[in-house]
Subunit: 664 residues, 2 copies
């Protein structure tokens, strides 16, 4: 066949593919690659929509989910909410058209953004059962609800209405969707109830009721009546925006002047900064944006990237928060009674490609968690649990990139998922989470996000290590204490007998032999007052007087009150420092404070550090980490840190010469 | 705010999102999530297109790839081919419009199918550089080439022509694309040259020349002048088609009768089978397909699923083939000199969701491969190397699902990637590979594909284990041989001296003590004739005569000639059996054959098994596996298999009572 006819013949086959034809043939990309997953994905899309709708309208969400068995492998997925409802003329489009939605261009943290989720579920349902989806929606000021049955015409990507009507509905407002689909119902890790439970953990303001195919309803009650702070929409941030995107924005702007364009269409650009950017780029601030040519745009882009700008505002993001992470984890893990919850960590917002994002982690260790399995990674994005594609997800990969051997977990070769009795929770929230596919099952490995995740996980690892080292030191010292207290008196007794003298008092001697500063604490809880009373004791079991600085790290959002003595400094980020002037040999000092308004489980161990003393002497607190920015001039120059190698291996030389006060 | 205005307000934001706007905001889904990956993805899309174009036109591909550095982080990616070219009126659409292509609806194995690849690269290029892409294309009967510079209007998803012209081009026909983009150039595992090398391995009919940003051109010469067998397009297979898809087909068919519709629009449905399906479904074969209602469609769908049908034809698929897998692996691994190449394995085609697919694997072991690392998994789909998203890919996951401890590799808990000096190549080809996203970086875990992968990998593992056990047994027995041959004569000598008698001959005694049947082989290669001459020797080092059946498994596509003695059976699938009637004590039998037309490296070890003898006696061949379907009645009832537990642990009791022939 001559090449002409081949090229011509190939040309005949060229055609446009509608987006719905594409996803009909590639339904695995939307999350429908197996019968089990399909059922869960449909539930997920329904619940995501309901939570977003409630957030849009400042309503405490009340969501009903039902999975009803129709016949052998056919189910009806029902999701009903008390959201604001959808106006009649939009219902068919929202549910019967792919890439149609309200949130795609908004820069605010939402679960759904793509306009693919719920209409994808409708399409999957009709592909596998041949049946339409039924939707009922009522807006507040209407007396009746609008009910519609529709299918999605995949050739045209438009809804086909099968039936429509108005019906009486007792709800004041809300939406109910019923999707028939082929699926398989399973219990266990990737099941509907597990998904809903995980959703409840990170959305404690929602009440979710679940009716399984068999058995009783399960209700996840709301843990708080407070709505999460409302997230705001923001314009893009100049850092990370692509050149081409900038050029497209300049073509479409309504601003007539470049400086005004920058100020109005970007966040964190004041009129002063806008002028500075123009100047750096060598452009007149009054240039018409539409007239900018490629070379000029490049210079402008460079100037925007190099401009020193504030981070994007955080009110567009809705992190779970350190308190809630801990509460959520305790909620899931109650029966496993983990020995330790590393203080959760919410990092400051950062930017990737002009989108603000924020990373949070929590680590749980010990107790009845299995010691010989890979650690479990609980993944969340924009408060949605991620259950699939763990291996392809930035959240899992970043856990594997950390060398956990440094932090007390087993890990072959220092990479990959570590082994040990631990659970690691990772949450990324953003005005635009870069998912690896439309199924939103995994987060892509954008460089900036990987960096933030790495920093958060290392800090979490350090906190875990602190706990493990403290525990180990305490155990070792306790053992020494016990031996010394048992053997020395016996030796004294025997010696006294032999020389026929009185048995000497040994307290000072024992103290001298121990040579440690022992830090422990008592925490009392008053249920009625919802008050934790914390007392930290610093026992000087050395033969000399000691002074030291004690640092407490409180989880974000907790405030210590009635502090006694008054601290030298209490910072907004929860770092509090006391200077303990002198503790005489064989005496103790105490620090006390109260925390109000927490549940009992929310505080069970203080995160304490010391400085201004040889940390090798201290049992029960770690040396102050080097990366904890200090404001105290007097700390400088004093010996403080254990050599890194020793710290790494958890080996501290107890026989190190004591630093004693002059008066000894 | 009352709910009415919220619902109305939300409605105002609802709008359609163009597919290009969607991917502009979600470029990570197309594979552009980092600067490094973006550069590779653009090259990949260009090369995929070129290879597909050559395949469409039965041309031996000659592809030129260049990555040129423009400025600090800007590159120009050039891909030029000798394909049939693209007719003028289609060029702009093919490169400047998403979801536009010729292969989306074709059921044949192609690299590209979605109409997203190259236009996605063009879009990424303009987003990051603001510059257009230049395309030049010439079809055979034109004297000049058509050259166009275009950008993609993402609002409308249509090409915007910046410039166009006709130019003289020395090529007879072909296409050249030049994409400017922001990227980062790296060396190593996920680099452009590594990708091209992997592509060359599985496309040995292609010549690929690569011009890097710095340094000399690299050419991967073609290893064969033979085009791979041309793949044919086929209609869908009734097994696995979705009910909704079937209903949509019936609405659109031009057939007036149900039976004709089934026969014409599905593969493997004869007119007899079509009538049977209608009968099972309780439907009149003359029913008009358009008139079928839901309940009828369901019955028809069930009948189609339960109908006994032939597998889909294989000529729509283009597997790499067992010979080529081995050659490809040797090509990459030459310098590492692995000790063993497990015979590669191409499984028979299977079906998922109506799409035929085929799975192939190859395993390499030992030599200079690192013994303490996770095994490397080389992934391919439709002859395209997969370099990213390994963790989220069915190919990697299926490797992790196998308990490799059974096959001699180390693996914690019997799951996850095993550790050891091994490389596992996995290839899936299909008329429609279910990728997890549009970037085509990972294969989704469709149940049927996972099943086939599992079977293939277990079979591969078994072959590896066979080799490892054989090696271990040989080593053990050799040691025993050496000890016996060393010590026995000394004892004899001493004893003889003491009793003052002549030293006795010990051959028979040694043989009796060894009590093994030793199988080894010599392989000679004649370069001129391209001929392997193979001799397999069976030494009977037991004290009785022995008979046994020897089975040889040849890789697909190899044919043993001049077999001496004649085998009892030689099957098409490469399984050959000899019945060795009697080998006297302390004698040997030999089997010889030749293999023609192979390169020397393609055959270096025979895969042999035994039956009809206590396999515990045999060193150098494994017992015939239970799943090797036998046609020999006489084998039945004879003792043959080592107890499973013993086989698992590689322990064989050498002192087991010998089965001797009657004549001893």
């Amino acid at each position: 066949m001559p090449a002409i006819s081949i090229a011509e013949e190939l040309a005949k086959k060229q055609r446009e593919i509608s987006v719905s034809e594409f996803f009909e043939r590639n339904k695995q990309i939307l999350g429908y690659d197996s019968a089990t997953k399909a059922l869960l994905t449909a539930v997920k899309e329904g619940v995501d929509n309901s939570l977003d709708a409630a957030a849009d309208a400042d309503i405490l969400p009340d969501i009903f989910v039902e999975v009803r068995k129709v016949e052998k492998d056919e189910f009806l997925v029902v999701v009903e909410d008390n959201g604001p409802g959808i106006v009649k003329k939009e219902v068919a489009n929202v549910f019967g058209r792919l890439l149609y939605g309200s949130r795609f261009f908004s820069r605010a943290q939402r679960r759904g953004q793509q306009g693919l989720g719920i209409s994808g579920a409708v399409m999957y349902g009709q592909i596998t059962t041949g049946k339409p989806t039924k939707i009922r929606s009522k807006v507040a000021e209407q007396d009746v609800a609008y009910e519609i049955e529709l299918i999605l015409d995949t050739k045209k990507n438009r809804p086909n209405v099968v039936e429509e009507d108005f019906v009486v509905w007792e709800r004041a407002h809300g939406t109910r969707v019923e999707i028939p689909l082929k699926g398989r119902y399973i219990a266990g890790k990737q099941s509907v109830p597990e998904y809903l439970k995980a959703t409840a953990i990170v959305n404690p303001h929602a009440r979710i009721t679940y009716r399984p195919p068999e058995g009783d309803d399960i209700t996840f009650e709301r843990a708080t009546e407070d709505l999460p702070p409302k997230t705001k929409e923001i314009p893009p941030h100049p850092h990370g925006i692509e050149l081409g995107t900038l050029m497209a924005m300049m073509k479409e702007t309504k601003s007539y002047k470049l400086a005004a364009f920058l100020e109005e269409e970007f966040v964190r650009v004041s009129s002063r900064v806008a002028k500075e950017i123009c100047e750096t780029a060598g452009l007149d601030p009054d240039t018409k944006p539409k007239s900018i040519v490629l070379e000029q745009a490049k210079a402008l882009h460079d100037a925007m990237q190099s401009a020193k700008l504030m981070s994007p505002p955080t009110d567009c993001l809705s992190p779970i928060g350190e308190r809630l992470i801990k509460r959520g984890l305790k909620n899931v893990l109650g029966s496993l009674r983990p020995e330790f919850y590393a203080p959760p960590l919410t990092r400051d917002p950062a930017v990737y490609s002009g989108n603000p994002f924020q990373v949070e982690i929590g680590i749980v260790y010990g107790g009845d968690l299995p010691p010989d399995q890979p650690v479990e990674v609980l993944r969340f994005a924009n408060r949605v649990p991620l259950l699939y594609q763990a291996g392809g997800c930035a959240l899992t990969q970043s856990v594997g990139n950390v060398d956990w051997r440094r932090y007390g977990l087993e890990q072959r070769g220092g990479q990959g998922l570590p082994f040990g009795p631990a659970i690691i929770l990772v949450h990324v929230c953003s005005t635009k989470v870069p998912y690896t596919s439309e199924a939103k099952e995994a987060v892509a490995t954008a460089d900036e996000i990987m960096t933030e995740l790495g920093l958060a996980l290392k800090e979490g690892g350090r906190r875990l290590k602190t706990h493990l080292t403290k525990k180990e030191h305490r155990a070792k010292t306790k053992e020494k204490f016990e031996i010394v207290q048992l053997i020395l008196p016996r030796i004294a007794e025997k010696s006294a007998k032999i020389v026929n003298k009185k048995i000497p008092t040994l307290d000072a001697t024992i103290t001298k032999i121990m040579g440690v500063v022992w830090i422990d604490e008592q925490i009392a809880y008053d249920k009625k007052l919802k008050r934790h009373s914390v007392t930290i004791n610093i026992h000087n079991f050395t033969s000399a007087g000691k002074k030291l600085n004690l640092h407490l790290l409180l989880p974000r959002g907790m405030e210590a009150k009635s502090m006694d003595p008054k601290p030298a400094e209490a910072r907004d980020d929860g770092k509090i420092t006391w200077e303990l002037k002198r503790i005489d040999s064989v005496t103790k000092a105490s620090i006390s404070f109260v925390l109000d308004g927490l549940d009992e489980a929310e505080y069970d161990e203080s995160d304490v550090y010391v400085s201004g003393i040889n940390p090798g002497l201290v049992i029960g607190a770690e040396p102050l980490p080097g990366d904890w920015e200090l404001n105290y001039a007097e700390f400088e120059g004093e010996e403080g840190a254990v050599p890194e190698a020793a710290e790494e291996e958890g080996e501290i030389d107890y026989d190190e010469t004591e630093e004693s006060l002059e008066d000894e």
